[in-house]
Symmetry: C2
Subunit: 288 residues, 2 copies
Protein backbone atom coordinates (compact mmCIF):
# COMPACT_ATOMS: atom_id res chain seq x y z
CA UNK A 1 0.00 0.00 0.00
CA UNK A 2 1.24 3.47 -0.85
CA UNK A 3 0.62 6.04 1.81
CA UNK A 4 -1.01 8.94 -0.05
CA UNK A 5 -0.22 11.50 2.63
CA UNK A 6 2.58 12.89 4.74
CA UNK A 7 3.39 11.32 8.07
CA UNK A 8 3.96 13.10 11.37
CA UNK A 9 5.23 11.06 14.32
CA UNK A 10 4.72 7.99 12.13
CA UNK A 11 0.94 8.24 11.89
CA UNK A 12 -0.39 9.16 8.45
CA UNK A 13 -2.02 12.59 8.63
CA UNK A 14 -4.84 13.33 6.19
CA UNK A 15 -5.99 16.93 5.72
CA UNK A 16 -8.55 16.70 2.93
CA UNK A 17 -11.65 14.71 2.04
CA UNK A 18 -9.87 13.54 -1.10
CA UNK A 19 -6.89 12.20 0.83
CA UNK A 20 -9.21 10.47 3.28
CA UNK A 21 -11.18 8.84 0.46
CA UNK A 22 -8.03 7.83 -1.39
CA UNK A 23 -6.66 6.13 1.73
CA UNK A 24 -9.93 4.36 2.51
CA UNK A 25 -10.31 3.22 -1.11
CA UNK A 26 -6.79 1.79 -1.17
CA UNK A 27 -7.46 -0.17 2.03
CA UNK A 28 -10.87 -1.31 0.86
CA UNK A 29 -9.48 -2.59 -2.46
CA UNK A 30 -7.04 -4.55 -0.33
CA UNK A 31 -9.98 -6.22 1.41
CA UNK A 32 -9.39 -4.45 4.73
CA UNK A 33 -12.18 -3.34 7.07
CA UNK A 34 -12.15 0.22 8.35
CA UNK A 35 -12.91 1.57 11.82
CA UNK A 36 -13.42 5.26 12.48
CA UNK A 37 -13.14 7.16 15.77
CA UNK A 38 -14.30 10.78 15.52
CA UNK A 39 -12.89 13.04 18.24
CA UNK A 40 -12.27 16.70 19.01
CA UNK A 41 -8.68 15.93 20.11
CA UNK A 42 -7.38 16.57 23.64
CA UNK A 43 -7.17 12.78 23.70
CA UNK A 44 -7.28 10.79 26.93
CA UNK A 45 -7.77 7.18 28.03
CA UNK A 46 -11.47 7.38 27.15
CA UNK A 47 -10.56 7.97 23.51
CA UNK A 48 -7.95 5.23 23.71
CA UNK A 49 -10.67 2.79 24.79
CA UNK A 50 -12.47 3.67 21.55
CA UNK A 51 -9.24 3.12 19.61
CA UNK A 52 -8.60 -0.24 21.29
CA UNK A 53 -12.13 -1.43 20.53
CA UNK A 54 -11.76 -0.27 16.94
CA UNK A 55 -8.43 -2.07 16.56
CA UNK A 56 -9.92 -5.29 17.92
CA UNK A 57 -12.68 -5.34 15.32
CA UNK A 58 -11.24 -3.56 12.24
CA UNK A 59 -8.15 -4.01 10.10
CA UNK A 60 -7.46 -0.28 9.80
CA UNK A 61 -8.33 2.50 12.25
CA UNK A 62 -8.74 6.18 11.41
CA UNK A 63 -9.11 8.75 14.17
CA UNK A 64 -10.40 12.20 13.26
CA UNK A 65 -9.58 15.32 15.22
CA UNK A 66 -11.88 18.19 14.40
CA UNK A 67 -12.99 20.81 16.91
CA UNK A 68 -16.34 21.43 15.30
CA UNK A 69 -17.36 25.09 15.65
CA UNK A 70 -21.05 24.48 14.92
CA UNK A 71 -21.60 22.37 18.02
CA UNK A 72 -20.39 25.09 20.39
CA UNK A 73 -22.96 27.63 21.52
CA UNK A 74 -22.43 31.33 22.14
CA UNK A 75 -20.40 31.71 25.35
CA UNK A 76 -19.15 28.11 25.22
CA UNK A 77 -15.47 27.12 25.08
CA UNK A 78 -14.79 26.78 21.32
CA UNK A 79 -11.89 29.27 21.32
CA UNK A 80 -10.26 27.82 24.44
CA UNK A 81 -10.99 24.13 23.83
CA UNK A 82 -7.62 22.35 24.32
CA UNK A 83 -5.75 21.69 21.03
CA UNK A 84 -2.40 19.85 20.82
CA UNK A 85 -2.10 17.87 17.61
CA UNK A 86 1.55 16.91 18.10
CA UNK A 87 0.78 15.31 21.47
CA UNK A 88 -2.42 13.70 20.16
CA UNK A 89 -0.78 12.22 17.08
CA UNK A 90 2.07 10.75 19.14
CA UNK A 91 -0.53 9.11 21.39
CA UNK A 92 -2.37 7.75 18.35
CA UNK A 93 0.85 6.34 16.90
CA UNK A 94 1.64 4.64 20.21
CA UNK A 95 -1.79 3.01 20.09
CA UNK A 96 -1.35 1.68 16.55
CA UNK A 97 -3.77 4.02 14.79
CA UNK A 98 -3.21 3.90 11.02
CA UNK A 99 -4.31 7.39 10.04
CA UNK A 100 -5.22 10.69 11.62
CA UNK A 101 -7.81 12.75 9.74
CA UNK A 102 -7.36 16.36 10.83
CA UNK A 103 -9.05 18.71 8.36
CA UNK A 104 -9.15 22.50 8.65
CA UNK A 105 -12.49 24.17 9.34
CA UNK A 106 -12.63 25.36 5.68
CA UNK A 107 -12.35 21.76 4.44
CA UNK A 108 -15.45 20.78 6.40
CA UNK A 109 -17.41 24.01 5.95
CA UNK A 110 -16.35 25.66 2.67
CA UNK A 111 -17.81 28.99 1.62
CA UNK A 112 -21.53 28.70 0.85
CA UNK A 113 -22.12 25.77 3.20
CA UNK A 114 -25.82 25.82 4.14
CA UNK A 115 -27.03 22.31 5.07
CA UNK A 116 -28.05 20.94 8.43
CA UNK A 117 -28.99 17.51 9.73
CA UNK A 118 -31.24 17.46 12.76
CA UNK A 119 -32.89 14.71 14.75
CA UNK A 120 -36.21 15.76 16.24
CA UNK A 121 -37.33 14.85 19.75
CA UNK A 122 -34.21 13.25 21.18
CA UNK A 123 -32.12 16.33 20.25
CA UNK A 124 -34.52 18.67 22.02
CA UNK A 125 -34.33 17.31 25.59
CA UNK A 126 -31.65 17.37 28.33
CA UNK A 127 -28.45 18.80 26.79
CA UNK A 128 -30.43 19.70 23.66
CA UNK A 129 -32.73 21.95 25.64
CA UNK A 130 -29.82 23.70 27.34
CA UNK A 131 -27.31 23.87 24.50
CA UNK A 132 -29.35 25.30 21.63
CA UNK A 133 -28.20 23.94 18.26
CA UNK A 134 -25.51 21.74 19.81
CA UNK A 135 -26.87 18.43 18.59
CA UNK A 136 -27.70 19.81 15.13
CA UNK A 137 -24.02 20.72 14.90
CA UNK A 138 -23.04 17.23 16.05
CA UNK A 139 -25.51 15.48 13.73
CA UNK A 140 -24.35 17.50 10.72
CA UNK A 141 -20.63 17.01 11.25
CA UNK A 142 -20.98 13.29 12.05
CA UNK A 143 -23.07 12.80 8.89
CA UNK A 144 -20.36 14.56 6.88
CA UNK A 145 -17.48 12.64 8.46
CA UNK A 146 -19.22 9.30 7.90
CA UNK A 147 -19.98 10.17 4.27
CA UNK A 148 -16.44 11.43 3.73
CA UNK A 149 -14.80 8.25 4.99
CA UNK A 150 -17.40 5.47 4.63
CA UNK A 151 -15.98 3.34 7.43
CA UNK A 152 -17.45 -0.08 8.22
CA UNK A 153 -17.78 0.82 11.89
CA UNK A 154 -17.69 4.07 13.84
CA UNK A 155 -16.99 4.20 17.57
CA UNK A 156 -18.52 6.62 20.06
CA UNK A 157 -18.24 6.76 23.85
CA UNK A 158 -21.22 6.13 26.10
CA UNK A 159 -19.99 9.08 28.14
CA UNK A 160 -21.83 11.28 25.60
CA UNK A 161 -24.86 9.05 25.78
CA UNK A 162 -27.40 11.43 24.28
CA UNK A 163 -25.04 12.11 21.37
CA UNK A 164 -24.60 8.36 20.85
CA UNK A 165 -28.36 7.76 20.72
CA UNK A 166 -28.83 10.69 18.32
CA UNK A 167 -26.14 9.32 16.02
CA UNK A 168 -27.71 5.84 16.09
CA UNK A 169 -31.03 7.44 15.11
CA UNK A 170 -29.69 9.56 12.24
CA UNK A 171 -27.60 6.73 10.78
CA UNK A 172 -30.70 4.53 10.72
CA UNK A 173 -32.95 7.32 9.45
CA UNK A 174 -30.66 8.54 6.65
CA UNK A 175 -29.62 5.01 5.61
CA UNK A 176 -25.92 5.66 6.17
CA UNK A 177 -24.23 2.28 5.67
CA UNK A 178 -22.12 2.10 8.84
CA UNK A 179 -22.35 0.21 12.11
CA UNK A 180 -22.39 2.52 15.16
CA UNK A 181 -20.60 1.02 18.18
CA UNK A 182 -21.03 2.44 21.68
CA UNK A 183 -18.06 1.98 24.02
CA UNK A 184 -18.34 1.99 27.83
CA UNK A 185 -17.21 5.10 29.70
CA UNK A 186 -13.67 5.03 31.10
CA UNK A 187 -13.44 6.29 34.70
CA UNK A 188 -10.82 7.33 37.21
CA UNK A 189 -10.42 5.04 40.25
CA UNK A 190 -12.92 7.20 42.16
CA UNK A 191 -15.55 6.93 39.40
CA UNK A 192 -15.10 10.32 37.66
CA UNK A 193 -15.73 9.88 33.92
CA UNK A 194 -12.71 10.85 31.84
CA UNK A 195 -13.28 14.08 29.91
CA UNK A 196 -11.12 16.66 28.21
CA UNK A 197 -12.95 19.22 30.33
CA UNK A 198 -11.77 17.68 33.62
CA UNK A 199 -8.61 19.73 33.02
CA UNK A 200 -10.67 22.77 34.01
CA UNK A 201 -11.07 21.44 37.61
CA UNK A 202 -8.80 22.66 40.45
CA UNK A 203 -7.71 20.29 43.22
CA UNK A 204 -10.70 20.99 45.49
CA UNK A 205 -13.19 20.64 42.64
CA UNK A 206 -11.51 17.41 41.54
CA UNK A 207 -12.35 15.91 44.96
CA UNK A 208 -16.01 16.92 44.63
CA UNK A 209 -16.41 15.77 41.00
CA UNK A 210 -16.90 11.98 41.60
CA UNK A 211 -20.10 12.75 43.52
CA UNK A 212 -21.84 13.03 40.13
CA UNK A 213 -21.15 9.41 39.19
CA UNK A 214 -21.89 8.12 42.72
CA UNK A 215 -25.23 9.91 42.76
CA UNK A 216 -26.19 8.58 39.30
CA UNK A 217 -25.42 5.05 40.49
CA UNK A 218 -27.53 5.45 43.63
CA UNK A 219 -30.41 6.85 41.55
CA UNK A 220 -30.22 3.89 39.17
CA UNK A 221 -30.36 1.41 42.06
CA UNK A 222 -33.24 3.20 43.80
CA UNK A 223 -35.21 3.54 40.53
CA UNK A 224 -34.74 -0.20 39.93
CA UNK A 225 -36.04 -0.74 43.49
CA UNK A 226 -39.25 1.07 42.59
CA UNK A 227 -38.70 4.64 43.77
CA UNK A 228 -40.32 7.52 41.89
CA UNK A 229 -38.08 9.10 39.23
CA UNK A 230 -39.11 12.70 39.94
CA UNK A 231 -38.50 12.33 43.68
CA UNK A 232 -35.08 10.82 42.91
CA UNK A 233 -34.20 13.82 40.69
CA UNK A 234 -35.07 16.22 43.50
CA UNK A 235 -32.99 14.21 45.95
CA UNK A 236 -30.01 13.96 43.58
CA UNK A 237 -30.04 17.66 42.81
CA UNK A 238 -29.70 18.51 46.52
CA UNK A 239 -26.94 15.93 46.97
CA UNK A 240 -24.87 17.56 44.22
CA UNK A 241 -25.43 21.11 45.47
CA UNK A 242 -24.62 20.05 49.05
CA UNK A 243 -21.41 18.41 47.80
CA UNK A 244 -20.26 21.71 46.29
CA UNK A 245 -21.50 21.70 42.66
CA UNK A 246 -22.37 25.24 41.57
CA UNK A 247 -25.48 24.34 39.56
CA UNK A 248 -27.28 21.27 38.30
CA UNK A 249 -28.59 21.40 34.71
CA UNK A 250 -30.43 18.09 35.02
CA UNK A 251 -30.17 14.72 36.72
CA UNK A 252 -32.91 12.39 35.52
CA UNK A 253 -34.03 8.87 34.71
CA UNK A 254 -34.97 8.56 31.04
CA UNK A 255 -35.94 5.95 28.46
CA UNK A 256 -32.62 4.39 27.38
CA UNK A 257 -33.33 4.70 23.65
CA UNK A 258 -35.47 7.80 23.10
CA UNK A 259 -34.46 9.73 26.28
CA UNK A 260 -38.11 10.61 26.81
CA UNK A 261 -39.58 10.68 30.35
CA UNK A 262 -40.03 7.27 31.91
CA UNK A 263 -42.32 6.08 34.69
CA UNK A 264 -42.41 2.33 34.07
CA UNK A 265 -39.33 0.74 35.74
CA UNK A 266 -39.67 -2.33 33.48
CA UNK A 267 -38.55 -0.37 30.39
CA UNK A 268 -34.83 -0.01 29.69
CA UNK A 269 -33.70 3.17 31.41
CA UNK A 270 -30.65 5.37 31.70
CA UNK A 271 -29.81 7.93 34.40
CA UNK A 272 -28.18 11.09 33.01
CA UNK A 273 -26.78 14.14 34.76
CA UNK A 274 -25.11 17.45 33.91
CA UNK A 275 -23.76 19.83 36.55
CA UNK A 276 -21.42 22.79 36.79
CA UNK A 277 -18.32 22.73 38.99
CA UNK A 278 -16.11 25.79 38.69
CA UNK A 279 -15.23 26.31 35.01
CA UNK A 280 -16.23 22.76 34.10
CA UNK A 281 -19.62 21.49 33.05
CA UNK A 282 -19.52 17.76 33.81
CA UNK A 283 -21.87 15.22 32.24
CA UNK A 284 -22.20 11.53 33.01
CA UNK A 285 -24.70 8.67 32.81
CA UNK A 286 -25.20 5.09 33.94
CA UNK A 287 -27.56 2.27 32.95
CA UNK A 288 -30.37 1.16 35.28
CA UNK B 1 -26.48 -11.24 -13.45
CA UNK B 2 -29.28 -12.66 -11.31
CA UNK B 3 -32.25 -10.37 -10.90
CA UNK B 4 -32.85 -10.31 -7.15
CA UNK B 5 -36.45 -9.14 -7.45
CA UNK B 6 -39.71 -9.86 -9.16
CA UNK B 7 -40.52 -8.33 -12.52
CA UNK B 8 -43.70 -6.57 -13.57
CA UNK B 9 -44.11 -5.66 -17.25
CA UNK B 10 -40.50 -6.77 -17.71
CA UNK B 11 -38.93 -4.04 -15.55
CA UNK B 12 -37.41 -5.26 -12.28
CA UNK B 13 -39.40 -3.83 -9.38
CA UNK B 14 -37.55 -3.27 -6.11
CA UNK B 15 -39.58 -2.65 -2.95
CA UNK B 16 -36.95 -2.52 -0.22
CA UNK B 17 -33.66 -0.78 0.53
CA UNK B 18 -32.02 -4.19 0.75
CA UNK B 19 -33.23 -5.23 -2.70
CA UNK B 20 -32.08 -1.90 -4.13
CA UNK B 21 -28.63 -2.27 -2.57
CA UNK B 22 -28.34 -5.88 -3.68
CA UNK B 23 -29.14 -4.92 -7.27
CA UNK B 24 -26.75 -1.98 -7.28
CA UNK B 25 -23.99 -4.06 -5.72
CA UNK B 26 -24.38 -6.78 -8.33
CA UNK B 27 -24.15 -4.23 -11.14
CA UNK B 28 -21.24 -2.44 -9.52
CA UNK B 29 -19.28 -5.66 -9.10
CA UNK B 30 -19.88 -6.18 -12.82
CA UNK B 31 -18.15 -2.84 -13.47
CA UNK B 32 -21.36 -1.09 -14.55
CA UNK B 33 -22.12 2.56 -13.85
CA UNK B 34 -25.48 3.44 -12.31
CA UNK B 35 -27.84 6.30 -13.10
CA UNK B 36 -30.74 7.18 -10.84
CA UNK B 37 -33.90 9.15 -11.67
CA UNK B 38 -36.04 9.93 -8.61
CA UNK B 39 -39.70 10.67 -9.42
CA UNK B 40 -43.12 10.75 -7.82
CA UNK B 41 -44.62 8.73 -10.70
CA UNK B 42 -47.36 10.06 -13.00
CA UNK B 43 -44.61 9.88 -15.58
CA UNK B 44 -44.60 12.03 -18.71
CA UNK B 45 -42.16 13.05 -21.46
CA UNK B 46 -40.31 15.29 -19.00
CA UNK B 47 -39.38 12.25 -16.94
CA UNK B 48 -38.52 10.36 -20.11
CA UNK B 49 -36.00 13.07 -20.99
CA UNK B 50 -34.33 12.34 -17.64
CA UNK B 51 -34.38 8.62 -18.44
CA UNK B 52 -32.89 9.17 -21.92
CA UNK B 53 -30.09 11.33 -20.52
CA UNK B 54 -29.42 8.73 -17.84
CA UNK B 55 -29.32 5.92 -20.41
CA UNK B 56 -26.87 7.89 -22.58
CA UNK B 57 -24.37 8.28 -19.72
CA UNK B 58 -24.87 5.23 -17.49
CA UNK B 59 -24.83 1.45 -18.02
CA UNK B 60 -27.81 0.81 -15.77
CA UNK B 61 -30.74 3.13 -14.97
CA UNK B 62 -32.95 2.95 -11.89
CA UNK B 63 -36.08 5.08 -11.66
CA UNK B 64 -37.72 5.52 -8.26
CA UNK B 65 -41.40 6.22 -7.80
CA UNK B 66 -42.20 7.49 -4.33
CA UNK B 67 -44.92 10.01 -3.57
CA UNK B 68 -43.17 11.52 -0.58
CA UNK B 69 -45.68 12.58 2.08
CA UNK B 70 -43.27 14.91 3.92
CA UNK B 71 -42.93 17.31 0.98
CA UNK B 72 -46.68 17.98 0.76
CA UNK B 73 -48.06 20.70 3.00
CA UNK B 74 -51.41 20.77 4.78
CA UNK B 75 -54.12 21.31 2.15
CA UNK B 76 -51.85 20.23 -0.72
CA UNK B 77 -52.62 17.32 -3.06
CA UNK B 78 -50.84 14.35 -1.40
CA UNK B 79 -53.99 12.20 -1.22
CA UNK B 80 -55.09 12.97 -4.77
CA UNK B 81 -51.66 13.05 -6.45
CA UNK B 82 -51.99 10.78 -9.54
CA UNK B 83 -50.72 7.21 -8.94
CA UNK B 84 -50.64 4.50 -11.63
CA UNK B 85 -47.70 2.16 -11.18
CA UNK B 86 -48.80 -0.33 -13.89
CA UNK B 87 -48.89 2.42 -16.53
CA UNK B 88 -45.64 3.99 -15.25
CA UNK B 89 -43.74 0.69 -15.19
CA UNK B 90 -44.84 -0.16 -18.74
CA UNK B 91 -43.55 3.26 -19.84
CA UNK B 92 -40.24 2.67 -18.06
CA UNK B 93 -39.86 -0.74 -19.68
CA UNK B 94 -40.50 0.76 -23.12
CA UNK B 95 -37.72 3.26 -22.43
CA UNK B 96 -35.21 0.60 -21.43
CA UNK B 97 -35.10 1.34 -17.70
CA UNK B 98 -33.41 -1.53 -15.84
CA UNK B 99 -35.12 -1.29 -12.46
CA UNK B 100 -38.01 0.51 -10.80
CA UNK B 101 -37.55 1.26 -7.12
CA UNK B 102 -41.02 1.69 -5.62
CA UNK B 103 -40.87 1.43 -1.84
CA UNK B 104 -43.86 1.75 0.49
CA UNK B 105 -44.01 4.76 2.81
CA UNK B 106 -43.08 2.52 5.80
CA UNK B 107 -39.88 1.43 4.04
CA UNK B 108 -38.74 5.05 3.78
CA UNK B 109 -40.14 6.29 7.10
CA UNK B 110 -40.25 3.39 9.57
CA UNK B 111 -41.65 3.87 13.05
CA UNK B 112 -39.44 6.19 15.14
CA UNK B 113 -38.09 8.12 12.14
CA UNK B 114 -36.99 11.54 13.42
CA UNK B 115 -34.26 13.01 11.18
CA UNK B 116 -34.40 15.93 8.81
CA UNK B 117 -32.02 17.44 6.29
CA UNK B 118 -32.48 21.12 5.57
CA UNK B 119 -30.64 23.63 3.42
CA UNK B 120 -30.73 27.13 4.86
CA UNK B 121 -31.26 30.24 2.76
CA UNK B 122 -32.06 28.78 -0.65
CA UNK B 123 -34.88 26.64 0.87
CA UNK B 124 -36.47 29.65 2.52
CA UNK B 125 -37.23 31.82 -0.52
CA UNK B 126 -39.76 31.56 -3.40
CA UNK B 127 -41.50 28.16 -3.14
CA UNK B 128 -39.83 27.64 0.24
CA UNK B 129 -41.49 30.72 1.65
CA UNK B 130 -44.90 29.63 0.37
CA UNK B 131 -44.75 25.88 0.92
CA UNK B 132 -43.57 25.60 4.53
CA UNK B 133 -41.39 22.50 5.08
CA UNK B 134 -41.64 21.43 1.43
CA UNK B 135 -37.93 21.60 0.66
CA UNK B 136 -36.95 20.02 3.99
CA UNK B 137 -39.13 17.08 2.92
CA UNK B 138 -37.44 17.03 -0.50
CA UNK B 139 -33.91 17.36 0.94
CA UNK B 140 -34.50 14.57 3.45
CA UNK B 141 -35.99 12.09 1.00
CA UNK B 142 -33.40 12.79 -1.70
CA UNK B 143 -30.58 12.31 0.85
CA UNK B 144 -32.12 9.00 1.85
CA UNK B 145 -32.67 7.80 -1.73
CA UNK B 146 -29.10 8.68 -2.72
CA UNK B 147 -27.67 6.92 0.34
CA UNK B 148 -29.90 3.90 -0.25
CA UNK B 149 -28.81 3.42 -3.85
CA UNK B 150 -25.40 5.11 -4.17
CA UNK B 151 -25.74 5.80 -7.89
CA UNK B 152 -22.89 7.38 -9.84
CA UNK B 153 -25.20 10.04 -11.26
CA UNK B 154 -28.66 11.29 -10.32
CA UNK B 155 -30.86 13.19 -12.77
CA UNK B 156 -33.26 16.01 -11.91
CA UNK B 157 -35.31 18.27 -14.16
CA UNK B 158 -34.62 21.99 -14.46
CA UNK B 159 -38.41 22.43 -14.33
CA UNK B 160 -38.05 22.21 -10.52
CA UNK B 161 -35.13 24.60 -10.62
CA UNK B 162 -35.12 25.60 -6.96
CA UNK B 163 -35.25 21.92 -5.96
CA UNK B 164 -32.33 21.18 -8.29
CA UNK B 165 -30.18 23.93 -6.78
CA UNK B 166 -31.06 22.79 -3.24
CA UNK B 167 -30.06 19.22 -4.09
CA UNK B 168 -26.77 20.40 -5.62
CA UNK B 169 -26.09 22.31 -2.41
CA UNK B 170 -26.90 19.46 0.00
CA UNK B 171 -24.93 16.89 -2.01
CA UNK B 172 -21.89 19.16 -1.89
CA UNK B 173 -22.43 20.08 1.76
CA UNK B 174 -22.98 16.55 3.09
CA UNK B 175 -20.24 15.02 0.88
CA UNK B 176 -22.61 12.59 -0.80
CA UNK B 177 -20.52 10.92 -3.53
CA UNK B 178 -22.84 11.37 -6.52
CA UNK B 179 -22.88 13.64 -9.56
CA UNK B 180 -26.08 15.69 -9.82
CA UNK B 181 -27.18 16.26 -13.42
CA UNK B 182 -29.75 18.89 -14.36
CA UNK B 183 -31.81 18.16 -17.48
CA UNK B 184 -33.54 20.86 -19.56
CA UNK B 185 -37.30 21.27 -19.20
CA UNK B 186 -39.45 19.50 -21.79
CA UNK B 187 -42.24 21.68 -23.19
CA UNK B 188 -45.40 21.36 -25.27
CA UNK B 189 -45.28 22.99 -28.72
CA UNK B 190 -46.76 26.18 -27.23
CA UNK B 191 -44.11 26.34 -24.50
CA UNK B 192 -46.03 24.96 -21.52
CA UNK B 193 -43.64 22.99 -19.32
CA UNK B 194 -44.67 19.34 -18.92
CA UNK B 195 -45.95 18.59 -15.44
CA UNK B 196 -48.06 15.89 -13.79
CA UNK B 197 -50.24 18.70 -12.50
CA UNK B 198 -51.14 19.93 -16.02
CA UNK B 199 -53.79 17.17 -15.87
CA UNK B 200 -55.70 19.45 -13.50
CA UNK B 201 -56.23 22.06 -16.28
CA UNK B 202 -59.50 22.23 -18.24
CA UNK B 203 -59.52 23.17 -21.95
CA UNK B 204 -59.84 26.93 -21.36
CA UNK B 205 -57.14 26.96 -18.70
CA UNK B 206 -54.88 24.92 -20.97
CA UNK B 207 -55.02 27.75 -23.53
CA UNK B 208 -54.03 30.32 -20.91
CA UNK B 209 -51.24 28.23 -19.33
CA UNK B 210 -48.41 28.93 -21.88
CA UNK B 211 -48.54 32.63 -20.95
CA UNK B 212 -46.39 31.74 -17.93
CA UNK B 213 -43.47 30.54 -20.06
CA UNK B 214 -43.87 33.35 -22.60
CA UNK B 215 -43.82 35.96 -19.83
CA UNK B 216 -40.72 34.42 -18.21
CA UNK B 217 -38.92 34.55 -21.56
CA UNK B 218 -39.84 38.18 -22.11
CA UNK B 219 -38.66 39.05 -18.59
CA UNK B 220 -35.33 37.29 -19.19
CA UNK B 221 -34.79 39.22 -22.41
CA UNK B 222 -35.73 42.58 -20.89
CA UNK B 223 -33.57 41.96 -17.79
CA UNK B 224 -30.63 41.14 -20.09
CA UNK B 225 -31.37 44.42 -21.89
CA UNK B 226 -30.94 46.31 -18.62
CA UNK B 227 -34.46 46.74 -17.28
CA UNK B 228 -35.06 46.81 -13.51
CA UNK B 229 -35.94 43.39 -12.01
CA UNK B 230 -38.59 44.72 -9.60
CA UNK B 231 -40.36 46.67 -12.33
CA UNK B 232 -40.30 43.55 -14.52
CA UNK B 233 -41.93 41.50 -11.72
CA UNK B 234 -44.73 44.03 -11.39
CA UNK B 235 -45.28 44.03 -15.15
CA UNK B 236 -45.23 40.19 -15.37
CA UNK B 237 -47.67 39.80 -12.52
CA UNK B 238 -50.24 41.97 -14.30
CA UNK B 239 -49.68 40.11 -17.60
CA UNK B 240 -50.50 36.79 -15.92
CA UNK B 241 -53.55 38.10 -14.08
CA UNK B 242 -54.83 39.81 -17.27
CA UNK B 243 -54.36 36.50 -19.17
CA UNK B 244 -56.64 34.71 -16.69
CA UNK B 245 -54.37 33.29 -14.00
CA UNK B 246 -56.15 33.32 -10.63
CA UNK B 247 -53.16 34.34 -8.52
CA UNK B 248 -49.42 34.82 -8.88
CA UNK B 249 -47.25 33.48 -6.04
CA UNK B 250 -44.06 35.01 -7.48
CA UNK B 251 -42.41 35.85 -10.78
CA UNK B 252 -38.88 37.11 -10.23
CA UNK B 253 -35.31 37.38 -11.49
CA UNK B 254 -32.91 35.69 -9.08
CA UNK B 255 -29.26 34.70 -8.78
CA UNK B 256 -28.99 31.44 -10.78
CA UNK B 257 -27.12 29.57 -8.06
CA UNK B 258 -28.29 30.88 -4.68
CA UNK B 259 -31.72 32.23 -5.78
CA UNK B 260 -31.07 35.36 -3.75
CA UNK B 261 -32.20 38.77 -5.05
CA UNK B 262 -30.17 40.07 -7.95
CA UNK B 263 -29.60 43.57 -9.25
CA UNK B 264 -26.44 43.18 -11.26
CA UNK B 265 -27.32 41.92 -14.77
CA UNK B 266 -23.76 40.64 -15.25
CA UNK B 267 -24.25 37.83 -12.71
CA UNK B 268 -25.80 34.54 -13.89
CA UNK B 269 -29.54 34.88 -13.40
CA UNK B 270 -32.68 32.78 -13.65
CA UNK B 271 -36.28 33.94 -13.96
CA UNK B 272 -38.72 31.87 -11.92
CA UNK B 273 -42.50 31.99 -11.66
CA UNK B 274 -45.34 30.24 -9.84
CA UNK B 275 -49.02 30.98 -10.49
CA UNK B 276 -52.41 29.43 -9.87
CA UNK B 277 -54.74 28.50 -12.70
CA UNK B 278 -57.89 26.67 -11.62
CA UNK B 279 -56.90 23.64 -9.55
CA UNK B 280 -53.32 23.72 -10.86
CA UNK B 281 -50.38 25.58 -9.39
CA UNK B 282 -47.95 25.95 -12.30
CA UNK B 283 -44.23 26.65 -11.89
CA UNK B 284 -41.65 27.33 -14.55
CA UNK B 285 -38.29 29.04 -15.06
CA UNK B 286 -35.87 30.11 -17.80
CA UNK B 287 -32.23 31.20 -17.89
CA UNK B 288 -31.29 34.82 -18.59
Amino acid sequence: MIDPALSVHGVTVLRSVNDLRQTVMTWRHGGLSIGFVPTMGALHEGHMALVRTARETCDRVIVSIFVNPTQFGVGEDYATYPRDEARDSALLEAHGVHALYAPAVEEIYPSGFASEVSVKGISEVLDGELRHGHFDGVATVVTKLLLQGFPDRAFFGEKDYQQLQIIRRLVTDLNIPVSIEGVATVREADGLALSSRNAYLNADQRKIAPTLHRTLQTMAQRFADGEDSKALSTWARSVLLDAGFDAVDYIEVRDAKTLSMIEDPRRAARVLGAAHLGRARLIDNVPV
